[in-house]
Symmetry: C3
Subunit: 356 residues, 3 copies
């Protein structure tokens, strides 16, 4: 499809670029390569239009932008995101559809309860008393252990393990390799005259995951010592995240890749934690707190707002920490100057002591 054909399809007007150039894909302005069509909906990204490598860019009729420097065309349309939404299905492939049915190679325990319209892919294992809700898809190589339950219309990808008795809500997506319900890390160590003894503390609880949760790939969420580790409704968790035993997250939290949350820490509603941050155990993190990337949280955070650094402090304070070395350099110069002046003052002749 050429730029002109695409412009005709969305009722747009071409400005600059090459109308005959081929369009083969869709992309954001930043990510686009030659052959992509992109779009500018939010004026705050207007500066990206000049730099984009896209072959065509949908922009509003009155957008104050010029065609990309790399030679792409602007296509002026009434609604840039509407035009883009029309273009996306032309250049993308939807995910595979999984028809209801149980693959012959899957091992489903006779005591498992399988809902209507369920897809169980090749080489899955569904254990005794496990329950799979209506319309749920288990892709190939999924393990649902004894007595675990999966809600309706979930999508569970290959190599996921849901351990015994854990409970997953409705419309939950779990990506490949994540582990729901492995034992938490808990031991009692006795140091006595016969040496060290390390005893495992049984982890007898479960994991409970709310509705509309999404969990990335290779993430681990440990079962509680007692009771439940809880992930609130609509919470979204990225890849390689560690959630310790007895953690509870509120609804609408976001937990980005490689974050670690130690045992028994509780998150409020809408808590956002960016990549690689770590939270100590037994903390309380209040509603609306945002913990920035790479932070190390060692104490409760109760006020909403952004926190940064290790130990994490409000962002403004953290920036002071980051700028401390520059302040130290300035102080060094000031102190050296003062020392010179004081030396000069000390060297200047003193008046004779006059006694009254």
């Amino acid at each position: 499809m050429t730029v002109s054909e695409l412009a005709a399809l969305v009722g747009g007007r071409i400005e600059g670029g090459a109308p005959g150039a081929a369009v083969r894909g869709v992309a954001s302005l930043h990510d686009a390569v030659e052959g992509d069509v992109s779009f500018l909906a939010n004026p705050k990204y207007a500066t990206q239009v000049a730099q984009t490598k896209a072959t065509a860019v949908f922009v509003a009729e009155d957008a104050a932008v010029s065609p990309p420097e790399a030679g792409g065309a602007l296509v002026r349309v009434p609604s840039p995101d509407g035009a883009f939404a029309k273009a996306v299905p032309l250049f993308t492939v939807p995910p595979p559809v999984r028809e209801p049915g149980i693959h012959a190679s899957a091992v489903v325990d006779p005591a498992a309860k399988i809902g209507r319209g369920v897809h169980i892919g090749p080489l899955c294992w569904v254990g005794p008393n496990a329950e799979i809700g209506d319309g749920t898809v288990l892709e190939a190589h999924v393990v649902i252990a004894d007595g675990a339950s999966i809600g309706e219309n979930c999508h569970i990808y290959p190599m996921v393990s849901v351990r015994e008795r854990c409970r997953i809500g409705a419309r939950v997506i779990i990506h490949n390799g994540s582990v729901i319900g492995a034992d938490g890390f808990g031991y009692e160590t006795h140091v006595g005259p016969e040496g060290i003894k390390v005893e495992k503390i049984p982890q007898l609880g479960i994991v409970e995951i709310g509705d509309d949760v999404e969990i990335g790939a290779n993430t681990t969420i440990d079962r509680a010592r007692f009771g439940a580790t809880v992930i609130g409704h609509h919470t979204k968790i990225d890849n390689l995240v560690q959630i310790g035993h007895n953690v509870r997250t509120g609804p609408y939290c976001g937990i980005v890749s490689q974050v670690g949350i130690a045992g028994s820490t509780h998150l409020g509603t809408g808590v956002m934690i960016w990549g690689q941050a770590g939270l100590a155990g037994h903390l309380t993190i209040g509603d609306g707190v945002e913990i920035l990337a790479h932070a190390g949280v060692a104490g409760d955070l109760t006020k909403p707002g952004q926190y940064l650094g290790a130990p994490a402090v409000p962002k403004r304070e953290a920036l002071r920490v980051f700028h401390a070395p520059r302040a130290v350099e300035r102080l060094k110069e000031q102190v050296a100057a003062l020392e010179a002046k004081v030396r000069a003052l000390e060297a200047s002749p003193q008046p004779p002591v006059q006694e009254a």
Copy 2:
């Protein structure tokens, strides 16, 4: 079961709360929700009794505590942890029991050696010359590759891979998705007139895991370049931990979630490493060293004690680092005050120079 029934069962005396309230679970004081019974064994947690949401709390007959503010009952007993231990089985479900036998869907190589009383779950693969010790459980979807050996009475969870020739001791637990014996990260890079050439260094060694080790979920322990990567007896490793090739840990170490230990670093006995800490390669970490969360260890640590920060230093020094920005603020004020005073001194009239 009501609070009174529970109190009767353990021979306790109720104080406060609602004797008719239902008890449905067990929990620690911090984690308890309504319906849970908890306990206070160690007086240092006495302040948690007031805050707990537990419906009943076992406390010692002479414990100086009042009933929880949220309305729970105290149940005074001679031994609070004894009473709690009696309550636990009433409200928890033990893990599933795996009977000896090989599931029909498992693929066990004819040249594998399988001990007595072994359970091999659905869809496992056990390769040629692999050995599985007496009483060991392989849950569903476990891969034990060619010539690997697993000791007696181990418990290996789904999606675990033990690669070729690695050796696992007795009573070892490995949680879902962990990888024992993937290749270490090793390359030789040559930059010559024909460009860059990156050659893989073959990783010909193995991993050797001692007795009574536990390994969490999605952890990776790389095989040695030559010889063995060694995990000492009774060492406990959490989830998502990276152990590089040729690392050796002593016995009784604890390695918490998301820690990374680079190649050829050696840990002594009883080394404790908290979450997200990272250790560079080729280091020696002495007996009894404790590396705190999020630390970055760049050099040998030989003295026992706590280390913190990146680069990690003894905890006392690290706290000075954390407080440096506050010290800088104070210095700024002091220097400004000094500058004003020196300006005043310089402005004051100088005595006439008197020649002798």
Copy 3:
């Protein structure tokens, strides 16, 4: 085999140690234990010879070293690395060979295209329209989803998932449990009068992996929102690494364990990123940049060289950050001394004001 037998085999001359001692393995000087043979090729490691526990060490005929203090022998040879290369096969076992063929327990969709000489191990799933190139090995328990393609002579280890339509080049190695092509982390959050709404942004792109790439265990590389997440030729990725959607790496990059790279960040050629470093999204990292362990990169890095700290800065500046606390201590002393001197100057009698 004894030290003398080994020396005879490589035409070497023994110096010190016990010629009759048994040699059972090979190792680097640092990693060697009793019974190992090691070697010194690069004189910069000469000091390790004294400390090594190796039983025998190949060294150059004119190397200025004495036998190991622990009692090992030197074996003087014309080429120490040549001699070592001869010894390696005597004491190591090569990886298992996988013969061409499809295991009876593997599930291969009839619409998959399987090349010549391919090995498909037990319990694999290869989906419809997937393509497996000539000579490629899929070990046991590999999932290649719908329409994904794997190049020639690749080696894919157990528990790896390659998701729908992703494309892997030739001679690629992927270790156990890695996930290629899970959805990127992308949502649109609307906060309105009816509350919060979090909508998933469909992730319609793929992952494209170049030739001669190696990927460690339990690493995750997310599919693009649109287009492709791209890993350049000859790039080597370690374990537990997170690569976000729409990331692009150049060729010849090295990405060490537990690194995280957020979405749409682009790496140039030969970028090296050490363990646990994190990169924010939408950054540009230039050719030849080296990001040191544990760094947190928050902005573009365009000049080649080493970067350290969080936020990452050129290494020289980072060291100043690390030394700031010491500088603060020195400043405190200087300021205290100045304050004392200024107090003394202020206390000294002032000359009478002389009016003209």
